[in-house]
Symmetry: C2
Subunit: 412 residues, 2 copies
């Protein structure tokens, strides 16, 4: 096996440091590099300052085989990525005639005169090849010097992602390593409990195993590298199968599947439908459900019944609200049954609780009941998960999805 | 004026390098530090590797006065931030009795046994004070040694943001500079149009003016620094007032106000109520509305009518759907009127359109109609904003809020 390539990334732009935009390029490149079997050891963000940028480029390329810079290729004085690379590798930038003609043609096509400042977007250095920009004006650089590769790409994600996929990946040296990986999604088990159950595997060198707490539950990622897909799979698969057995009660899907796509798969298979009545989740449940493309095959709708009189008009028993309070198992079940009737579906889901910040009926924020009504009966689950409004509402959704998956298992 | 503090940030976690999660903490801290008058020169992300982490902590604290680390405070073997700081400042971690008791109490309150691994969340070093975690289990560290400050905070954004605002900002040394700033929120005007209208001010050195495209519209941030609040205010306020005049037709609020809190303020003042019927937004509209604490004063509920038969049962005219298609101004208006009736409210909002990825009725994703029905009549607006499902749904919500604000202005 060849020695794996080590990569670092540098994002350039004071606006990134000031928190004015969130760096989504970093996550994109992180995933792509991982799947190429390239190890990313460090990512940095620097502002538009030449001295600090040159120092960072030198440091990073002394540590890594591949350095990817994002941003700082615009036409203005504070776009300094080209200047920094040239200084770090000790070469002089020059205006490339072909790039300049391309650039002028782009402005002509938009019927605009090219501002003088844009000329530097036609710069190259001796060791750099140009990466064409099919979307914007700034070409990228692919620098290959002294066994080190430096790639510079423009910051706008739609430009960067196309240039990376269509050009850079083809230029990178083959890593000789292929990664085989699977992510198992669980719901209803805590991260430390889960980690405890699979600890004999997490100590292995290969496959590498990571656990990640998500909004939907805890993910387990199993990944092995090898000289070929077959070899990597041979290392990973036996461990994946053992972990799947151990975590079977909590696994709802893998890789690109979500808890909603898992629900859709089951319901579509049975030809069943579902609907919701929401109080505490206030539309977040419907929003999470309808985030799944094609969900209209089994999802009919949801009523956000924020006011009690809306719940009552929709079929919830007013006496139950008076007797047990609106945050109660009885009202949650009544809401789930009412949803089923109102939307003419096989299943009804419901949420009722306190999102805060103020308490309700003497109950503190984070207190909630969720219920599921199905072909064979009803069930309710209690939620007690303090936090801010967003956390509480997400947690309520997670619990109702978990109850729904369990109820569907039982009614098989 | 004192020399400004220089800060660096380090986010810790292989999952961040692999692109599995996007680092929103970095943007939050970048903004807060800026407002404290602290200069952020560099941000880094490292994986769960002790050797590289120790090296990065040492390098960063040799360059900066303040180093903020996010993440890596969990209970598992690959959570290494405490270990890295201890090694970098050359101190031995020990279990702090008070922290251990707190931690055990937290597990007891959730009726769970504390796993052995969590003990390290009760670690301290001699130079570190503990930062209480009001949400999760992991306390933070505030290390003050040799004139350098190192802050370690847990990765989950809801834990980090509260701990930063409630504890860390009070502990940091005063920078000697005070920032006075205001952010004006606009809706219904594009960023370049807006920038053109206020360009005589954006050229000023102080106050500094930035424009930011947000989900809710375009924000304008005006900020001035000075030795005192009075001095900074005297520089900023005249410019703020002029910009407010120029952008008056589009401004709906400032600073912590949101478009929903602005709507609530108007409705509460008039003693009016509103409700929604959603198709393309699929619950996202209700979720955005109910994200505003106290909105139940004026919001009654929303029906996510995903299936056409649900719309019809809720009062939408079936003939209009047949005649104009479900994605039409006529159906949007009919939905808004039906919402008003169904929820007994003064105002009804509606959305209908194509979220994609597949077209609907021959219309492409991003095509939508929104409508508002009020005491004095109805209005509808067309949306044509291609993108992925999430982008399209957010854009639809922005358009319906904008229409609602306009309709309320007109019905004064």
């Amino acid at each position: 096996m060849k020695k794996p390539l080590i990569a670092e990334m540098i994002s350039v732009g004071t606006e990134l440091l000031l928190g004015e935009i969130i760096d989504t390029n970093a996550a994109f490149l992180g995933e792509r590099l991982r799947d190429l079997g390239i190890f990313v050891y460090r990512r940095q963000t620097l502002g538009d300052n030449l001295e600090r940028l040159v120092a960072a480029v030198k440091e990073a390329s002394s540590r890594a085989d591949l350095l990817v810079l994002c941003g700082g290729l615009g036409p203005t004085d504070d776009d300094l990525t080209r200047e920094a690379i040239a200084a770090a590798v000790n070469e002089e930038p020059y205006v490339d005639d072909a790039l300049l003609r391309d650039l002028e043609a782009k402005f002509a096509a938009r019927k605009r005169a090219m501002p003088e400042g844009n000329t530097k977007q036609a710069w190259l250095i001796k060791s750099a090849g140009a990466l064409a920009n099919p979307v914007g004006t700034a070409p990228g650089w692919y620098v290959n010097k002294g066994g080190k590769i430096i790639v510079a790409l423009p910051g706008p994600p739609n430009e960067l992602t196309r240039m990376w996929c269509e050009q850079v990946e083809k230029l990178l040296p083959a890593s000789g390593r292929v990664l085989y990986h699977r992510t198992l999604h669980t719901i209803g088990i805590g991260e430390s409990d889960l980690a405890e159950r699979i600890k004999e595997f997490t100590r292995l060198d290969s496959p590498g195993i990571g656990t990640y707490a998500r909004n939907s539950g805890v993910d387990v990622r199993i990944a092995a590298a090898g000289e070929s897909t077959d070899k990597a799979r041979a290392v990973a698969e036996p461990v994946i199968r053992e972990i799947e057995l151990i975590l079977a009660p909590w696994i709802f899907g893998c890789d690109d599947e979500t808890v909603v796509s898992a629900i859709k798969k089951i319901l579509d298979g049975r030809g069943q439908t579902f609907s919701c009545m929401e109080s505490v989740s206030g539309g977040v449940l419907a929003a999470e459900i309808t985030d799944c493309p094609g969900i209209s095959s089994c999802f009919r709708g949801s009523l956000t019944a924020y006011a009690n009189e809306v719940k009552i008009r929709a079929g919830v028993d007013a006496a139950l609200i008076r007797q047990h309070g609106v945050v109660s198992a009885e009202v949650a079940v009544s809401m789930a049954v009412a949803a089923k009737k109102m939307f003419h579906t096989d299943w009804g889901l419901a949420t009722t609780g306190v999102a805060g910040p103020a308490p309700l009926e003497g109950k503190s924020p984070g207190t909630a009941w969720v219920a599921v009504s199905g072909p064979n009966g009803e069930s309710a689950a209690f939620v007690d998960w303090p936090g801010d409004r967003a956390v509480i509402r997400k947690r309520v959704c997670r619990t109702v999805f978990q109850s729904f998956l369990n109820a569907m298992k039982e009614s098989k």
